[in-house]
Symmetry: C2
């Protein structure tokens, strides 16, 4: 390498916002001189850069859970690097680090944003995949939401991907039956033979619903959602009581300028919404609890209620017709 | 009353399954002699019968969380009654009870299905409303799912109804700002003036979305769903990060022979599904946890992963385009 190259930094910046699929022309490479770290900063050389589906969201101006990359700004991304110059006591030249450092050959980072890696440990690249953000996404999704139990059926979309492949292996370790969904026979074979999933469905199948049903004869208890669209609809139709759905992403629609029609739950991911169904008799202990709590409020008049009273058992059918269209005003009762 | 009337029981049975809105002709009244309780049973006279929207689901043959009422069977329902004859030591004539006893003038129930009520306590009818199944539904929904906190904004649909009116009052007691949605000015006035909600929106408003936005200037943290349809869509578009949605019912579609097109989440209620969005960085502690757990599995080869490596920083944009259409196979990385 020449001296010029050693002192030059290459960065890929966003040139314009893509419409639909991103294209290399939406980006451009710029060069500048290697910067000097100020106190508390570290200059690193990038060894590995991670490419992840979430990055599509950063290219759009639309509101998301993170700020978009601005035009002319370096594209965001996690990377593994080697420390060249350190102005922080925690790092020394030759250290390996992982952090969010963007699409750059060299990066200047606050030391507090970097995590030091042991070169004698797992391969450095795994800190961007199985041990990095995608692996932790799978782990957090299964630990905090999915919670698969032994004997349950877990379905994972994008099963051969960085997140799905780990999510399924975690569910297998928990004793669940794990069914993957992936595109094409090569990925399907990998998911079953190497990852050890119990089955894998090709999402290009003619009868996707039928294949899901055949692979999940007792229904679905956990769904790890990476894809959205038709797959989501087919899975939702086969969820068991008390199923958990980890809404991690919907890559099938990231290139769409407008959200596709029909059920669209991308807001659940973006806003980390919790949506949960309720049937009151599932928690019978709440009845006695609520009566003990609220009876004094009824007696002292501080809990307000209104009754809409229909006279005579024979008028119950007409009353039921009315409650469905909001004709009643207050709790509808029949007095015998 | 004549001796004949005293010894006769009237029951309303399902004659045929309604299409669309239920009609009184879908039911018929049958009479039989008052039954004698066997050991462990109690004969009661019905005083109050509850009419609730969930009953529409019992009239359909379609699978739900509870078995449908069969043709010729007594219609299901909660009621308050007075014990006439008891063949169980826990109850005596003159006792007041609440239980699921159907649309009947008199019912024979297993004693274990009845709860005794104190006539000196709250009015007997409240055990079908504010202290009964609808009140407990509101309580369980707010306690187990919604968990409103002081300063948060909570929206309740069907706000003047038996469930909504209690749900909103619970949220007010928790210090939340509570916005109701109800049909017409009379119900709106009741919701604001008597129930003490901070605002109430008429769902017949020309610009429903605009009215919701005006009433919830900082967005929505908890939504208690009783209605579905357009209201649901307008609320979902305005949920804050970490919002909770209590899916209690969707009365707007109970009379529809087919589920309406577009987003339809009735399965969330029916199956008590939990759907939760995930952004991995919300729980930063999961990173260190997962690395400690999974590094040994990477080292011993028991956690499988596959990498798809692109050479050169300049190829990062093309790689990103590919990951969105599933061109990669394994964790996509750029090697510099």
């Amino acid at each position: 390498m020449t001296e010029a190259k050693l002192s030059t930094r290459r960065s890929i910046v966003l040139r314009r916002r893509p419409t639909g699929a991103p294209h290399p022309d939406d980006f451009e490479t710029v060069e500048d001189a290697l910067p000097e770290p100020a106190a508390g900063q570290v200059l690193t050389r990038t060894l590995w850069l991670s490419i992840d589906p979430y990055m599509r969201g950063r290219l759009s101006a639309a509101a998301s859970y993170a700020a978009p990359v601005e035009i002319g700004e370096v594209m965001t991304g996690e990377s593994v690097g080697e420390v060249l110059v350190s102005a922080d006591p925690r790092f020394a030249p030759g250290d390996f680090v992982v952090g969010s450092r963007g699409w750059q050959s060299h990066s200047l980072s606050p030391a507090s944003h970097l995590v030091k890696l042991d070169p004698a440990g797992p391969p450095l690249s795994t800190y961007l995949g199985v041990l990095g953000m995608p692996g932790v996404t799978a782990y957090s999704g299964m630990t905090d939401i999915g919670q698969p139990r032994s004997g349950e059926t877990v379905v994972i979309s994008a099963a051969s991907g960085a997140v799905g492949s780990v999510a399924g292996q975690i569910a297998r370790r928990a004793g669940a039956r794990v069914v993957g969904i992936a595109g094409g026979p090569e990925k399907g074979l990998y998911v079953q033979e190497t990852l050890g999933f119990d089955a894998c469905i090709d999402h290009r199948a003619m009868d996707l619903g039928g294949e899901i049903e055949a692979a999940c004869p007792t229904g679905i208890d956990v769904y790890f959602e990476n894809v959205g669209g038709e797959i989501q609809a087919e899975i939702f139709a086969r969820l068991n009581p008390f199923a958990r759905v980890v809404m991690c992403g919907m890559v099938s629609q990231y290139n769409s300028p407008k959200p596709p029609p029909g059920p669209n739950l991308m807001f659940v991911v973006r806003q980390r919404v919790l949506i949960q169904g309720l049937i009151v008799t599932d928690k019978p202990e709440r009845f006695a609890e609520w009566r003990a709590l609220a009876s004094p409020w009824v007696m002292d008049g501080s809990l307000h209620y209104r009754e809409d009273v229909v006279q005579g058992l024979e008028n119950a059918p007409e009353a039921l017709a009315g409650i469905l269209t909001g004709r009643n005003f207050g709790k509808l009762l029949v007095k015998l």
